[in-house]
């Protein structure tokens, strides 16, 4: 197994993870990785779900709601991942990303556009000069069922086309078979291929099923060099859920405590309403802490959510709902 901590050059100048915390030892062998993961405290399902539901009952009103809506907009990874995607569709989405509400320049741009690798050049061109990043899924998204060289070629293609961020999928089959080292090595290899691009590691929690698995997979991703851990591809149900986000937010907080490196969290799939988005912001605030309340550390992968955020923003500011045709549909 590759020990990333030993060779800073291979990580593109990024300081090795956990140099002074013993985390480098975790990745030293299959045995050390396995005993580390199985030694993590368990997650009690009932308790985790109760806590997430409790935080979901927070009541966010007035100025707090306005702040939350604008913050959520700035955290959206506006996504289209369909077989039917075309350059035209992507350009339309990029227009929306730069300026979500043409009638109101006060609306912040979204964080990123998320597309398949072959559409990265079109997104890049459409977003030139804007702060909006281009994220590309890769590694044989969404199933990840390909050999490593194919996955790495997929990553290299996206990065060469100008992707600022790469959303990879982990090998869930390897994870569920207990081959944690295989999962880690893939994350490490992809991180290397990313070069300067930031890496989001999709766990596909709907296929991992248990919260214990979510926690372990989060740690593998973080030790492997993830800049973000991400819940889902959006192609599997259930996608993001509040308790899954809770477990991942706890993991990134603990990882930051141990390693000094802050990893972000991205929830993707199933976040459709402003109410849902605000619930996630409350989770971020009270579980990971307010330092995670920025687009560098928290993202929401969605498509339909953005118009609901705009609609609620309009309502909060003007006291009446806008019509569904008042916002553009891409």
């Amino acid at each position: 197994m590759v020990d990333r901590g030993r060779d800073p050059a291979r990580t593109g100048g990024v300081p090795p993870r956990g140099r002074n915390s013993g985390l480098a030892d975790v990745a030293r062998s299959e045995v050390s990785l396995r005993s580390f993961l199985l030694g993590l405290p368990g997650v009690d399902q009932v308790g985790a779900e109760l806590r997430a539901a409790g935080l979901g009952a927070r009541s966010i009103k007035a100025a707090a709601k306005l702040w939350a809506i604008d913050t959520a907009i700035s955290m959206v990874d506006l996504t289209t991942l369909e077989g039917a995607d075309t350059p035209g569709k992507v350009r339309a989405l990029c227009g929306k990303a730069r300026r979500p509400d043409p009638a109101d320049p006060g609306v912040p741009p979204v964080a990123a556009i998320c597309v398949y690798p072959d559409l990265v050049p079109f997104a890049k061109a459409a977003l030139a000069g804007s702060p909006v990043k281009v994220a590309s899924v890769a590694t044989s998204f969404p199933s990840g069922r390909a050999c490593l060289p194919v996955k790495l070629a997929d990553v290299a293609d996206a990065v060469a086309a100008g992707a600022d961020e790469v959303d990879m999928v982990i090998d869930r089959g390897a994870f569920l078979a207990g081959h944690y080292g295989v999962v880690l090595e893939e994350v490490q290899a992809v991180k290397e291929s990313c070069g300067p691009a930031r890496l989001k590691v999709i766990l596909e929690t709907g296929e991992l099923v248990t919260y214990d698995n979510v926690r372990r997979a989060s740690w593998i991703a973080m030790v492997g060099g993830a800049d973000f851990v991400k819940t889902s591809t959006g192609k599997v149900s259930p996608a993001a859920t509040p308790p899954v986000a809770l477990v991942m937010l706890e993991a990134v907080r603990e990882f930051a405590d141990v390693s000094g490196t802050a990893v972000g969290v991205k929830v993707a799939g199933g976040v459709r309403t402003t109410k849902d988005a605000i619930k996630y912001l409350v989770l971020v605030n009270e579980v990971a802490g307010e330092a995670w309340l920025e687009p560098d550390r928290f993202r929401i992968g969605a498509s339909g959510l953005l118009n609901d955020l705009l609609m609620q923003r309009y309502k909060q500011r003007r006291g009446a709902y806008a019509g569904s045709q008042d916002f553009s549909v891409e």
């Binding site: 997650v43 409350v282 307010e290």
Partner: protein
């Protein structure tokens, strides 16, 4: 640095509650003026604002209430078939649900508890108790107490201020289902939700005299439990008063159930699900500001993880939101009374004086009202008062242990025995520990969870008798589950 995400105030509206300036006693289906009692005021403990004037029942009033209950038992409620009784009880349950918001707001106003608790715990559980026991009313022959178990007659019921409506439900629902009639005495500082319940009983057309609700202070309660016209006395409250009642009733032949204090151990093993254990510790001791008889007030944590658990607890306590009980985002409300606040302050001071280390998160207490910050004591040893006496406030004493046997020994080293908690991922250890803990309720990987179908009650100085479940029927019927 200023916080980024400041939750704007989100208060539940008070408009839903229709407070009267003064309340009489609820006797024989009517609100009446006291004969030989007086008036007292009940206040909002979070602001010290007077909410209403309430009547205090004197000896003649107590007597009138017991007679009304006796008449109702003999003429109406006793002879009524169980299936008919159940209809009334179901109706009460449904009205509780329909008026749940009103009840929750009133409970938070009078008690000081956060609206999220009155809304999500107290009121729904109260309704659930009526639903549960309504279902038993026509099935008593199958309760394991013989083919035709008979009601005892008239029950005198004295309840505390920590869960005013819920305790009324715990007392009334099984008594009514089994064919008994009741005289209920709510606590002096929290009479209002019981008086609203009286209105709900009227709305449900419950026959006159079946439930009588008489308000007042300790002397009213003492007069009630000593009344010779009762067949049954149930009391939930302090161990000290419980002992007085037991002495008073000795030799009278009247049945007694006592649900008293506690000093529960919440035991966290090194293999526990730590994040959830931290939540459980917080819920165990800060739920209802720790004013819970089964609160997990002694944290027993295994030494290898003691430091990290305390650190995680401190981090978590920093996120607790203390303030206006009616704000939907409030986690910690007000202490119920100045008397209780004084008691908590005195015990916390003893903890410091006896050498334990005191810690509270940085939170500002409101200027008016009765408030105490969430408080942790570390470095606690078993010989300190804060490790032995019930504080009944948001104060957690942290102790450590090394082995399961030591945990059992320390957990049982108390005069109480109401509840306990075990946190471990090892199922066999849960069973091993539960069998050895002398506590009426043992929670595994959770704490302070209640259900009407689950019996609740204590060992030793925590009292005797069970409330809830099939066992809860036994307290109001002739015969016993053992025989």
């Amino acid at each position: 640095m200023a916080p980024r995400f400041v939750y704007a105030p989100a208060p539940e509206s008070r408009a839903v509650v229709n407070l009267r300036p003064s309340y009489g006693l609820f006797i024989d289906g009517e609100f009446v003026e006291p004969i030989d009692g007086g008036q007292f005021k009940t206040e909002n403990p979070s602001s010290q604002e007077v909410l209403a004037e309430v009547s205090s029942a004197g000896l003649a009033d107590v007597d009138r209430a017991v007679r009304a209950a006796r008449r109702a038992h003999e003429e109406v409620w006793g002879p009524m078939p169980g299936r008919e009784r159940s209809k009334y009880i179901f109706r009460v349950a449904r009205i509780l649900q329909e008026r749940s918001r009103e009840l929750a707001v009133l409970e938070s106003l009078d008690n000081g508890k956060p609206i999220k608790e009155s809304r999500d715990v107290d009121v729904p559980l109260a309704a659930a108790h009526f639903f549960y026991y309504a279902g038993w009313a026509d099935k008593l022959a199958y309760a394991g107490l013989g083919p035709g178990p008979k009601p005892l007659g008239v029950a005198g019921q004295v309840i505390p201020w920590n869960f005013p409506l819920l305790m009324a439900a715990w007392k009334l629902a099984p008594a009514l289902a089994t064919g008994n009639t009741c005289v209920l005495k709510p606590a002096e500082t929290t009479p209002l939700s019981a008086l609203l319940l009286a209105e709900i009983l009227q709305q449900a057309d419950l026959p006159a005299g079946v439930v009588n609700i008489i308000t007042g202070a300790g002397d009213t309660g003492a007069a009630l439990v000593a009344h010779p016209g009762l067949d049954k006395v149930t009391f939930t409250g302090s161990t000290e008063v419980g002992k007085q009642i037991q002495r008073r009733l000795a030799g009278t032949g009247r049945r007694l159930t006592l649900e008293l204090g506690g000093k529960a151990a919440n035991i966290v093993f090194e293999d526990a699900p730590l994040s959830q254990a931290v939540e459980g510790i917080v819920n165990g001791i800060f739920f209802n500001q720790g004013q819970v008889c089964c609160a997990g007030s002694r944290l027993l944590v295994q030494e290898p993880i003691a430091e990290s658990v305390v650190e995680a607890l401190k981090r978590r306590l920093e996120t607790l939101r203390l303030g206006d009980p009616l704000d939907k985002n409030t986690d910690i409300g007000a202490i119920n009374s100045s008397t209780q606040l004084d008691k908590i302050r005195a015990l916390a001071a003893s903890g410091e004086a006896e050498g334990a280390q005191r810690w509270s998160p940085s939170c500002t207490l409101p200027e008016r009202g009765y408030w105490f910050p969430p408080t942790l004591f570390t470095g606690v040893v078993p010989a300190q008062r804060i490790a032995r006496e019930e504080i009944f406030g948001p104060v957690l004493s942290v102790l450590t242990f090394r082995t399961p046997d030591e945990a059992v020994e320390k957990a049982n080293n108390t005069t109480y025995g109401l509840s306990a908690g075990i946190w471990t991922e090892k199922g066999s250890r849960i069973l091993h520990m539960a069998a050895r803990l002398r506590a009426g309720v043992v929670w595994a990987n959770t704490f302070n969870r209640f259900d009407p179908s689950s019996p609740f009650g204590g060992y030793r100085e925590s009292g005797f008798g069970r409330e809830g479940g099939r066992h809860g029927l036994e307290a109001y019927l002739e015969g016993s589950l053992d025989g």
